[in-house]
Symmetry: C2
């Protein structure tokens, strides 16, 4: 050994010894089990004090590269290779923790994970049962698509023109008169929110919304420094809105028809009032209308977008809750500068949505297959809603309240006692029942569950509600 540390380097002598010894082990010069020379001899050979050498050896022992057997002899440890491999692994956790986007809530990560397990009863899922999706009819319709090389190339920034034309006709029944220039196709309503977040709002903006809100369950706005502010009913006033936003940019998020998670429907009068309020507050509106097709007994009232004279409403539609979530097709309708902006960012994010999915949706809209399918779907959803309502009446009448659903997927049940905790969620998960607890829609809520009658089979709904009931009883008597 004729190596010695270099006193002119900025690295301490002991650190240099650590590095050099690590290299000897790494290169195989010093195989596992190698016995090091006595420390006195080593120190002399390196030209350093014994204490400096001791410092280096202690560090290598702490790292697991060296070990001492009986007495003072030091060996290259049996585990040294594992240690070296681990040291070299890229420390991704450090990258992840410092990065920009927030993680999903733990509860939602668990939901996403356990939804893959077919033996789990999904009592919360915002998704149609696979049997309610018209998969055979979609399959059959594929042969009717017009797939040439143009249509399966890169899309135009706003998405397929013929799909946008079909959407123009389709949204007339929502009272919306628009043109293809005012539409941008997106990969589902969630992507629309993503584009709005990074494309229209500045860091520090306020997103005003109902106290219980779908937005609270995702991090699309908070990840980029925006603040969500939940309004309770009496806070929807000009004064209050101005007080909250102060001089910051703000936008209002609302689901006027079949609200997620509460199931509420605004009357036409309420929509007009909210629109007028936002107009005077110069507060743009995101109108999320993805559930509007699913009202059971009544026609939905016109969208707020129908009153829009000032270009302040960003309207979002989608086929994920009706035709198939796997198509990943939604749309935004807004004024021209907004659409151009969203399309420009979409081109920088994913170069457009799946061309085949766009073709399928266009085909279903144009041929009327879509509307006919929804008629059938509503009948089945209503049957399921009644089943769920009667199951709840059997078990929960004394301890909770809820409204009979007017449509959609959900019953928003409110327990009189604050029993909907992470404990309850985890206990149910152990019993293979997944719920969407209220606290993912409003921080600290412990009273609500969003129950979905759209996913489980009749038997699963019955069994799931029974397990929920039993668990609540067990907890009560503990």
């Amino acid at each position: 050994m004729n190596w010695q540390p270099n006193r002119s380097l900025p690295l301490s002598l002991s650190k240099q010894i650590v590095q050099w010894m690590t290299e000897q082990i790494e290169s195989g010069e010093w195989p596992i089990g190698t016995k090091l020379p006595p420390q006195r001899k080593l120190a002399l050979s390196f030209g350093v004090n014994r204490s400096t050498l001791q410092e280096a050896i202690d560090e290598l022992k702490a790292n697991g590269l060296l070990s001492s057997k009986t007495g003072s002899a030091t060996y290259v440890s049996n585990d040294s290779w594992n240690v070296l491999v681990k040291q070299k692994q890229t420390n991704w956790q450090q990258y992840i923790e410092a990065s920009i986007h927030k993680s999903n809530f733990q509860t939602i990560q668990l939901i996403n994970e356990f939804e893959q397990d077919d033996s789990v009863i999904r009592l919360g899922t915002g998704e149609l049962n696979p049997l309610l999706l018209p998969s055979a009819a979609i399959h059959a319709s594929l042969s009717g698509l017009d797939l040439d090389g143009k249509t399966i190339g890169y899309s135009s920034p706003q998405g397929s023109l013929s799909l946008r034309q079909a959407i123009c006709s389709y949204v007339q029944k929502r009272g919306i008169v628009t043109s293809p220039e005012n539409i941008c196709i997106v990969s589902g309503a969630l992507q629309a929110l993503q584009l709005i977040s990074v494309g229209l709002l500045e860091t520090g903006s306020f997103v005003l919304q109902d106290r219980f809100s779908y937005l609270n369950s995702i991090h699309t706005f908070q990840s980029f420094g925006m603040h969500l502010y939940g309004l309770s009913e009496h806070q929807y006033t000009l004064d209050m809105i101005q007080r909250i936003r102060r001089n910051r940019q703000a936008i209002l998020y609302t689901i006027p028809t079949l609200h997620n998670p509460t199931g509420n429907c605004m009357t036409i009068q309420q929509k007009k009032e909210l629109y007028a309020l936002c107009e005077s507050a110069q507060l743009p509106i995101i109108e999320d209308d993805v559930y509007c097709e699913l009202l059971f007994d009544e026609e939905p009232t016109p969208a707020m977008k129908a009153f829009d004279q000032t270009g302040g409403v960003l309207y979002i539609g989608s086929v994920s809750k009706t035709l198939s979530p796997g198509l990943r097709i939604g749309w935004v309708i807004a004024s021209t500068p907004v659409i151009q902006r969203l399309a420009d960012i979409k081109m920088q994010m994913d170069y457009g949505s799946s061309a085949i999915s766009q073709q399928i949706v266009e085909h279903w809209l144009r041929t009327g297959l879509y509307e006919r399918h929804i008629e059938q779907l509503k009948i089945e959803l209503q049957r399921r809603a009644e089943l769920m309502d009667s199951l709840l009446q059997q078990h929960f009448q004394a301890i909770a309240s809820w409204e009979k659903p007017k449509g959609g997927f959900y019953i928003w049940i409110k327990f009189h006692e604050p029993i909907v905790t992470t404990d309850l969620f985890m206990q149910l998960l152990k019993n293979k029942v997944l719920i969407n607890p209220g606290y993912i829609y409003a921080a600290n809520d412990a009273h609500h569950i969003r129950l979905s009658f759209a996913y489980g089979s009749d038997a699963e709904l019955e069994q799931g509600i029974e397990i929920l009931y039993q668990q609540i009883q067990t907890n009560k008597h503990r």
Copy 2:
């Protein structure tokens, strides 16, 4: 008129008069053409100086709400309603300017826009000619898909398991041994970059790359506060990398095979050296391998991911350059914490990629349709490459240099003089020829054009190159 401005308000008297008069016009109290009382009388009635009143009236005239006919009489202007409607329009420009994501470069916005115009010759496009896409075969394969309700529901966070299994087998020929847990399906390679940007990097990170780089043409990293740093050849050293990044997080972006835009291919030795360099620098690597299938005469050497012992390589693949960009399907292969992180963010961004697109890609990979298609495709691309090369030899031998392409879509031509300016781009656009100028791949470059032989027909390539030549000649003699 018994209104008077309120002297205790923080708003100036003249501003209060402006507001009040605007309200009179807006509410219809003062219809179009209304003649205002003489100023002396008005000032008296408001209890203000004539100069204060004059100030208010001047502002309203400037806004177009009031107008003066002959003499001193003032009227509500004929245009006042239009003006009021415009004033109430949501000022989206203000939102857009303050928002987070950068806009595309003007040049790229123009490219995206004019690519929609079929009469334009696209000499730069990174896209296969529609006739080279196997649209009939894709159409025919649709009937072979296995579309049940499960497959067209929401995807699992990492994407279809059977597609991920098919990718595991497929990438073995790139020397990559992996498992479905280490794969995340994305909507094209661009989305992979988006997920890496917000999911793994902190604001202020450095993205190191070649001086000429695809990344310079998009804003995926810069929009979130990361710095792109272009390295020239001699800067790929440990010392240089550490000097650039200082103590910040950093990552290296590279396209080792058929580099975009230069067309370069690294040898296996160069790949190993770069990998070793990054390993010692603890610098993770994004390996963009989307062109690897398109080498004409040789088998591609193994991916850098094949050497990866430390989990430092994020490997990106896609079918957009081979099968169809409209499918929007790509994949990332990386270590487990990275894949879980990217999948979690993807779930918050768009709930997964199109299920039908995923099914199609799986079918094409599994049945061998994909590889057979690529064999055909390469023959045609090679024919086109030779055509383009001979066209360039006819026109540009004296004024430019380039290499005969080894594969892919592009010839990266370098003009001896700095003639590739925005002016040239715009002149060519007027002549209906679109090019990708070098300056979108490296700021201030004026020597290069990325010419694509993948898109135009033979006639269009000939005509386009001729127009390019003529334009350059014209500019030279000006």
